[in-house]
């Protein structure tokens, strides 16, 4: 037999155990909207029974531990998907930015009925068309001053458009480098935080306690790190998690073994390496690699395409133009200056004095238009340097390739969002706080607490009876 005083203790322990249950339920409810939080539950077990004359008798309940409800597999899957999501989100963002800078939007309703964001801000496609149309006008009326002036205007608009696009995309390239640097800094901070959390978790578990909240923080840091760069993790027996990237160990226990750094391979486009061991890393996911790929693949291809088109235009136009004569009988000048999209310009002499435009094929024949006609027809010719496409078709092809990359990124982001939502739902169904469940638990623990209090009251009355037996 336990005896009245031991029964009192039984009641007290029960109240304590139920109180822990209420506290844990309170913790769960408080973190109901915390996406990083994994619900906890108190593990109740019967306390050690005591031998009595009539056999082993139970001594009540005790709170054995507070466990975190987590699915490691789901956590790993979400980390992995975070890398995928980080990669495609950064690609999407980078390429959307580039699409804005390219300024090639279709507008069927503009007064010119041509491309560009409005009739006043025409895209390169429209400017190319205008150039060759202007050559046509001069070919039809070779001595007409307004036709010549319009040609200068069209050529300057195109040159300026190419300069601007090139400048914008170059600036964007620089911003991507900055983004990579910033993400590296963020990743290093997270690595440091993870190492620090590892240390605290190891201490807590070594002393027999739990580190559920610290584990939540570490998981959140790991997910955030995964968004930046694809990581490989390995759990250790002391509760710590090792982190490696591209086969290079970065976090071991509570030690930050190495960090990430950027380096310039020689072309000004930053890549990633480890800071201490100076080992170049080829990343397979995350926003850092997404930005790098957007910069070095799609953006680089687009910039190269613009440069190739500009240099071909300069070469082809000047090759014909040099043979022409202006209204004053002069000969041999270039029409375009520069060598690529950044530097293309119109010969200042012709720009300032359109009579110096060399439209004629022979001297002293101002009505001769053979050079202007050749230049006009150049717009319909296949150019070898442009994969045997016309200037307009080659540019449209470049725009399509760029559009394909962004469209693909958009699709991948949509796919990621669907998969991520599904995984998050699955994780929430395991680790998320259910208000209904916690409310029911709250009521359960409260009632059990009340009943345990009732037991104490009853035993107290019984003790009072015993005391009153002696007058």
């Amino acid at each position: 037999m336990l005896g009245l005083f031991n029964t009192l203790n039984l009641g007290a322990r029960a109240m304590t155990a139920q109180q822990v249950g209420v506290e844990v339920t309170g913790q769960n409810l408080a973190n109901a909207n915390n996406p990083a939080y994994a619900r906890q539950r108190v593990q109740l077990q019967t306390s050690t029974p005591t031998p009595t004359g009539i056999g082993m008798e139970g001594t009540g309940v005790e709170a054995a531990s507070i466990q975190q409800v987590r699915d490691q597999l789901l956590d790993s899957q979400i980390q992995s998907e975070s890398s995928v999501g980080g990669y495609w989100n950064s690609q999407q963002s980078a390429l959307q930015n580039a699409q804005t800078q390219l300024n090639e939007f279709l507008n069927l309703n503009s007064t010119s009925g041509t491309s560009g964001s409005s009739a006043d801000t025409q895209g390169l496609s429209d400017q190319l068309n205008n150039l060759f149309n202007a050559f046509q006008s001069v070919a039809t009326s070779p001595t007409d001053p307004s036709a010549r002036a319009s040609l200068v205007n069209a050529a300057q608009s195109l040159a300026s458009g190419l300069n601007q696009s090139s400048q914008n995309l170059t600036t964007l390239n620089g911003l991507f480098n900055t983004s990579v640097s910033n993400d590296i800094a963020s990743a290093n901070q997270l690595l440091s935080d993870i190492a620090s959390l590892n240390g605290e978790i190891a201490k807590a578990t070594a002393s027999g306690g739990n580190a559920n909240d610290l584990v939540d923080s570490r998981e959140q840091d790991l997910e955030n790190l995964s968004k930046l760069v694809n990581i490989q993790t390995a759990g250790n027996s002391d509760g710590t998690v090792s982190v490696s990237i591209g086969g290079q160990q970065l976090v071991t226990g509570n030690k930050l073994a190495d960090t990430l750094a950027t380096y310039d391979p020689g072309n000004g486009n930053l890549l990633v390496q480890t800071a201490s061991s100076v080992t170049p890393l080829t990343l397979s996911g995350g926003s850092i690699q997404g930005t790098i790929d957007a910069r070095d693949e799609t953006l680089a291809t687009l910039r190269s395409g613009l440069d190739t088109m500009a240099s071909s235009l300069i070469t082809q136009v000047n090759g014909i133009y040099k043979n022409g004569y202006d209204l004053n009988g002069n000969h041999g000048a270039d029409f375009f200056t520069g060598s690529d999209a950044a530097t293309i310009g119109v010969n200042p002499a012709a720009a300032n004095d359109p009579s110096q435009i060399q439209a004629a094929g022979t001297a002293n024949a101002s009505g001769d238009n053979s050079i202007a006609l050749q230049l006009a027809q150049l717009g319909q010719q296949s150019i070898a340097a442009l994969n045997n496409q016309t200037f307009s078709t080659a540019y449209a092809h470049d725009v399509q390739n760029f559009g394909n990359a962004l469209s693909n990124a958009n699709d991948q982001v949509t796919n990621y969002n669907s998969v991520n939502a599904m995984l998050q739902n699955q994780r929430d169904s395991v680790s998320g706080v259910s208000l209904e469940e916690e409310t029911a638990n709250l009521i359960t623990y409260q009632k059990a607490y009340e009943c345990s209090a009732k037991l104490i009251t009853t035993v107290d009355e019984m003790l009072q009876t015993v005391v009153n037996m002696k007058s």
Binding site: Q99, T114, Q136, N369, Q380, S407, I443
Partner: protein, 313 residues
């Protein structure tokens, strides 16, 4: 399946965002009338649309070229018609100047021929804007200059133009010229209006000869030489008038072709990038309804959650 509290909100927000995005896209299509605005909307469609716009822009330019050429051809045509009138009158004078004509009549005819030469030179110095129509490609200066003696009789009409003509594009790789050179005695190329050695035409020299023969009373030379020569000149001018007419007809056909080409291109552009307004508005209404329903459903879910909280003692 166990449903966490955050799942409700996340799912609701996700659905509302999706529906908002759909509405935004459809609204954009309805207001712009386009299904494609940016390269990423439909990359292949965008490339096709850009190529169609380039073609359309080129055809517009061809139309402008044609319009310029039509104007120039009309100016040439009017000049040639006036020149034919002069040639016809000169022919009449040559025919009527015979042994029966009195010296006074011959002198009067000579004076008229002198005037005809001056008028013809003036016609042949016709301009289109700042450019001389009948100077070949040396069109900056007046191609014909008349020299006279002290009595005002024409002694020579010199040509300072050339025999080349400029071609202009009226369709892809299709060019045409609407001008003719004043003179071409090179033996090849476009036919000269006044003088062409291939066809015996040399109007000004023949008119000067007629003038001089009328002044000297040499009616035999007029009937045996001047009249046949002027007949060749007249034939040459008739050829020029017919060629000009044919060019104008061809330009009209080219303009019509360009118009139908443009119409086809615009239709293609609309089919590639244009929005079906009825369909878009229907889809927009459906998306709007779905959004409203999602909002109402979310509201009901939130009320249910409140019910759970109210059940606490």
């Amino acid at each position: 399946m166990r449903i966490a509290g955050t799942s409700y909100m996340d799912s609701m927000v996700s659905q509302l965002n999706l529906l908002s995005a759909q509405q935004y896209q459809l609204q954009n299509q309805a207001s712009t009338g386009q299904t494609i605005s940016a390269p990423s909307d439909n990359p292949a469609g965008m490339a096709l649309a850009l190529n169609l716009q380039a073609d359309s822009s080129t055809v517009t330019q061809y139309s402008q070229n044609i319009s310029t050429l039509q104007n120039r051809a009309a100016i040439s045509g009017n000049a040639l018609a006036s020149l034919k009138t002069i040639a016809d009158r000169a022919g009449e004078i040559a025919t009527s100047a015979d042994g029966a004509s009195s010296p006074a009549q011959l002198q009067a005819n000579a004076a008229e021929v002198t005037q005809l030469i001056q008028q013809a030179a003036q016609i042949m110095n016709t301009r289109d804007g700042s450019q001389y129509v009948f100077g070949g490609t040396a069109s900056a200066t007046a191609p014909f200059a008349v020299s006279t003696d002290a009595s005002g009789n024409v002694t020579a009409v010199t040509y300072s133009g050339n025999s080349s003509v400029a071609q202009s594009e009226v369709s892809q790789n299709v060019t045409m010229a609407v001008s003719a050179p004043g003179e071409n005695n090179s033996g090849s190329g476009a036919r000269g209006v006044i003088s062409d050695s291939r066809y015996g035409a040399d109007l000004f020299n023949h008119l000067i000869s007629l003038q001089n023969n009328l002044l000297s009373g040499n009616t035999d030379a007029i009937s045996t030489t001047d009249a046949p020569d002027l007949s060749k000149d007249s034939d040459n001018i008739i050829y020029q008038v017919a060629t000009n007419g044919a060019a104008q007809t061809r330009l009209t056909a080219a303009a019509s072709f360009a118009t139908s080409q443009q119409s086809g291109l615009q239709q293609n552009l609309t089919s590639v990038a244009g929005a079906d307004l009825a369909q878009t508005l229907t889809q927009l209404t459906q998306a709007g309804n779905a959004y409203q329903i999602a909002l109402q459903t979310s509201s009901q879910l939130l009320q249910l959650q409140q019910t759970v909280l109210n059940s606490l003692p």
